[in-house]
Symmetry: D4
Subunit: 230 residues, 8 copies
């Protein structure tokens, strides 16, 4: 019997074993049919008893519905455009992850980072709308900032928040530029450059709007010490 | 008698009358000979009793020496690459200008802004090395910031300082991006974009390394109210 | 009772006290629901007697309708994409603001600047379609230009108008590049660069299409002298 | 006997016949030896009675000296970096070319345009330092502008002058962007984009610093009507 | 009675007298209402006996219909997105204009150039689909090329055709880059740069997709000699 | 009788004879009508007995339907957006072409390359989803890689696969960057630059998403030796 | 007594206490005098018994000599352009850092990262010349890669190595783009974009040539777990 | 005994066996010492009887002299900046490579391609100065073009030559953009984009100034058919 998956994808089911973290399917550039075919392959492999979580990222509403058609009990966070199956995150291990969000409009990617960190096994919290235009907002969170093992900072426009935060704490800061803004924000280039040039050291930059990557990296930084050498 | 100036420049001596501020000669892209010819024209016109100040900006050492050869009592700030003749700034009028400098390396353009504001008739002060990586430094100056009528903020790299400052005060902030930095600072593009996208409103951006322009603009914003309509 | 606002925004209601100007909500990148939730929070805080104006900027028609659903007496300028509540601008104080508009297509951002300046407490006038292709149009307004304390100049395409105007007056010129144009206008990069390199000093540049920022900055420059140090 | 020219160049001596204008040798990217070899070939072909002019453009001082070593009676304009041999321009035919130069620093490319137009057979004049920051300077030349058949306008920084001039005359304007400026002038990108987006129609743009190209184009536009179809 | 035009535009009706060519209205960035208001003003001024042609460029279908609602006898070339009123071009004077089009997809801007030249008073012809991939196509037109006084060459993708043509003729070539292409064509940047760097001199570049500008420039170059000094 | 084709295109029917490969029609930037007119011309020329294949590339669904309306037996690969008429590829000659596809989302351009190579007379195979994030996938295909005469590698995002593959084989690798990715992928600029800078030599780069060009080039590289000199 | 430091810098001596890591002085954009003044301030504060290490980064030879003039026992790694005083790194704590270097030319920034990590208190090793063009080189180090808690990967040109490495391990990978390459490497833009778009998650990007930032970030990721909340 | 090579490089001596072509050392970004150390390792390995050729590319004069100090009988082509040891190219096999050079200034990279192809075992010829500005030059070589199995075309400025050549022949064309030009040539970006968008299919692009890569690729395309699968 021909395998419809074979023509379009070579799923890396061994990745959880090799890297310690589950496979994620980037939905956005795929057709609805391709996404559904992949979801079916995930279901088939599990055969009722899934041994690892699969994430579906940057899913449009239509893609999400196609996935839920195959995996009806998958979780779906529409703001974050993220689905997960099975839907329950693992029991948290390792250290805490903190996600900061400079403005309301940065919420989608901030939530994507938050949920990714949780599905990869960390406890994670989100603090919203603490941009540098009102500095008292972030300074009011100083204790919380200093308790984190790693902080993800999502910001668009001037992308100034990661620099400010990195100057206040000793843990690594993951700078997550967003495409929020207009004109000379150039779809996220402005905050991206700002973050790459952060005058405080200890800033790790990921791609524009890459909440998944930021959350994944945070989960790795905050991983329990014993997991070494897979 | 042929006029050597005529072949190379049409000096705008009427500018002080028309716009209220003196002419400035951008030296950098001119040859030593051209700069000296222009300095001579300035001296000739004054004929011993200059009625206005001429600034020479972005002068290399060799250009500065050529100017001093013609106008020996001109002032020369080598860091700021600025000469002025006659050398004494006018008595300050209007409101105070404050110049902030994010890092030591931003000093040349910050000083160029400072001196320009003074030669255009304002009182002006400079505060150095208050970048956002050590936020306590700028927060410790809050009273001084709030007393200014206009603040020039020179910063390279992430260019985050103007956003932070503009969020703390009610006066306009003139953001002066510098070419300090390397790699993805792209000769000042990173702070320029950051400043154009400042999340706090009230930020006026000038060209990269344009200390003269920032100082000029600051002098205009802080000008006495009565000067209207020249 | 859970607060729906808390998950998405930390409104900076203290900003009017701290900076002297009201909060503005950038609508464009927010969802309809987020905008409505924020409008409700604005209404709730006021509880019938609002003590300050809130601006909603860059609102789509759908966002505007959602805001008007919550704040039915808000003003809405559809061309400028701006709403304000309460709808009446304050009595003007300080000096006059003049807004120039190079072409008909620059009207939306020019009006956004005009209305912002008015809602921030200044008297403000608009002059339309005075681009440099027909120089007599701007030269015919010379008296009006010279009476202003600050001039906002909105222009797309070659962005040449601010340079020309700044050479004619002694007050600061706020250059507002627009995304009007096509091809090598690159969504406003051409006028932005032109303005940053204005050969006349005294030009303050803001982000492409940032009428709100230009109007805010103009209001600050033209502010009454007594407002210092909030 | 081996021909040293053959290994490095295929001179297009037939070009004068085919296109009506002489060959030009772009010196800058060539080695001193290559330039000297080409000059020698030019001398050899002429064998005492040159029937057409050869231009050597963008020549460094060292390249110029090498050329003069071979063709001692060649003309050399050091500012324009241009040599011509034989040194005398042809008797002018066709219409007049006018070259405007926004600032003193734009002189080298403006002169390159001026001389090229003359060596290609046109009468040509130069007007210097008439940038838009002092608009009265260009308005004072209106009669001269309206007498020209074609106008070359060299400008750096904001590149605003061609737009202004094109709005004042009925003849074509050749916009010649220069690399004069710093920061966001980006080596001439700012004036190039400004000129490509000129809001007045009738503007023909050439490459940054391409004085030769501008002068050549001007000579073609102002060519006598009878020269058609070579 | 209030004038609806006054709030949105300052039409330059004196332009025909001043520059010798009619006013053109760039429709694309304007609203339907603005376009209709302007068309009405054009009709009102003419009051039955129009003394000059008005062009409406880059009109969408909806804009075109609004214009035809006011000026029912206007001509409309839908491919070129151009309307003209009154609809009949003037009797041709001056020299001939030739428009070349590298590929079928470049037709809209090529036709815009063609029609503009005709409405500005020149005779003009169009040759289609003669790109350099099949060089025999353009070589087969050599006689026609050499009869023209000025040639407009529209090309996207590699933008190589103007270089090739300019090497074959003695008249000026107006290079009109188009946004045809994908990927690294970058919306016309590739042919724009190619044309600015044409290795054959005599190439005048206009903005990407600016058929109107190319046609206008061509009409000026080919203008009768007597029209000097308006 | 007028020929509707003549106004829009000069089909290069001699190309098969001249270059040895059939004409291809790039549909995307053409109107439906233009595409149909061209298809009709193809049908007319063949008059029942076509002697060469015509490809229609980057066809939208609507364009494809218009072509099928004229040439009902044309083949259509909707994923690859490619049509061919007559529909049967020629008998393969020359050497084998291998097409690798880094991710599922790169499939459309990879298939376009695959089918083009087949319609140009080569045998060609496709291997999907072998990106470098799971290196074992490409290493598991080493034998297949080493049997190919030329390998096309389609990849978006980091574009790392061609470098890795070129380091493993001795045949040329054609690197086909795709616009798959988001944020700093910049529509394919990231993989394009990565491929141009491949640290392994032997990498030939084509335009972003240019599957047709990659397949054509592969067919030429793998062509039988006897075909020389057409 | 005047303090020469005060005019140029506000050293952040409290930073070690606040952030847990020593101050670093970026030398490159500073003058020799400024660097020497800062070195003297470092010496003065220590007064014989320094309690923390100061790093001097990106020092030219002349700057290094000026620093050694003041702090003769400082260490100097000329390849890495790094000085440290006092010269002995602290006893390592936390986990191991591994630094990979794609090519010989990437050594300077790779060594800067290596030494920074050591001076910040980690054990760190360097593996050189393991670029993807010879994949067996990096595959041969798999055991060493999997023992690391964090891996810094320095690469120029295609920047493909971090993607490949991140796909092989479970720890975070810090991608350090270098300006090695030419042409379309654009001074490090090519590897920077490649790394931001790494198809394997878990990649943290720093600025081009920012070895100091990469080493600092690595030291933070590998920090002992008890150091929380300074 | 310590191995000085080990600290800086992992030479890939197995590459000839694995890929069929010798190792090449990119000298430019390496220090003189590093280059000399590598040359010594090459000499040591050979121990008097080298079994393969090593190329040293993009060598400065000082680097070349250091290499010749260690390998005195190496060949050195100073124009091409290339050294080879042993100095004699292998007996040619496979098909002929033709290298075209658009202008004299493109010679260095054209010669680098030529010599690389020869050292990799192909017969190769060079034709100089056949740019499209004088089309008869390339048309005069049509027979030679059609005899080649692969053609390398080096061109700067408009980069138009590869498009023209690819339209005339049936073999693959390797487009080699050079950094020759100024202004909007942007160091080779203009010809690079032009070549990526070549309107004739069959064009393979390599990095700007990458003569080595072009020659290597040409040698692979023209390799004898029997060499498959190393």
């Amino acid at each position: 019997m021909p395998d419809p998956l074979e023509d379009i994808a070579t799923l890396d089911f061994a990745r959880a074993a090799r890297r310690g973290y589950p496979e994620a399917v980037l939905c956005e550039p795929k057709s609805i049919d391709q996404v559904a075919t992949i979801a079916q392959a995930v279901a088939d492999r599990a055969a009722g008893s899934p041994d690892q979580i699969t994430l579906f990222t940057r899913a449009t509403d239509d893609q999400a519905k196609a996935i839920l058609g195959v995996l009806p009990d998958a979780s779906w966070d529409r703001t974050a455009r993220l689905l997960a199956w099975p839907p329950t995150p693992p029991e948290p291990t390792g250290d805490a992850v903190l996600v900061l969000c400079a403005g309301t409009s940065d919420l989608p990617v901030a939530r994507e980072a938050l949920l990714t960190a949780r599905y990869l096994g960390r406890s994670a919290e989100l603090v919203v709308d603490v941009g540098v235009a009102g500095l008292h907002r972030v300074l009011g969170k100083l204790d919380q900032l200093r308790r984190a093992r790693v902080i993800v900072v999502a910001a668009g426009m001037d992308g100034a928040l990661p620099s400010v935060v990195a100057g206040l704490v000793s843990c690594p800061v993951i700078a997550l530029p967003t495409s929020v803004g207009y004109g000379a924000a150039f779809g996220g280039i402005a905050p991206l450059l700002s973050m790459l040039n952060a005058c405080a050291p200890g800033v790790a930059v990921v791609n524009i709007d890459n909440g998944y990557g930021a959350g994944h990296l945070a989960a790795q930084v905050a991983a329990p010490r014993t997991e070494e050498a897979l």
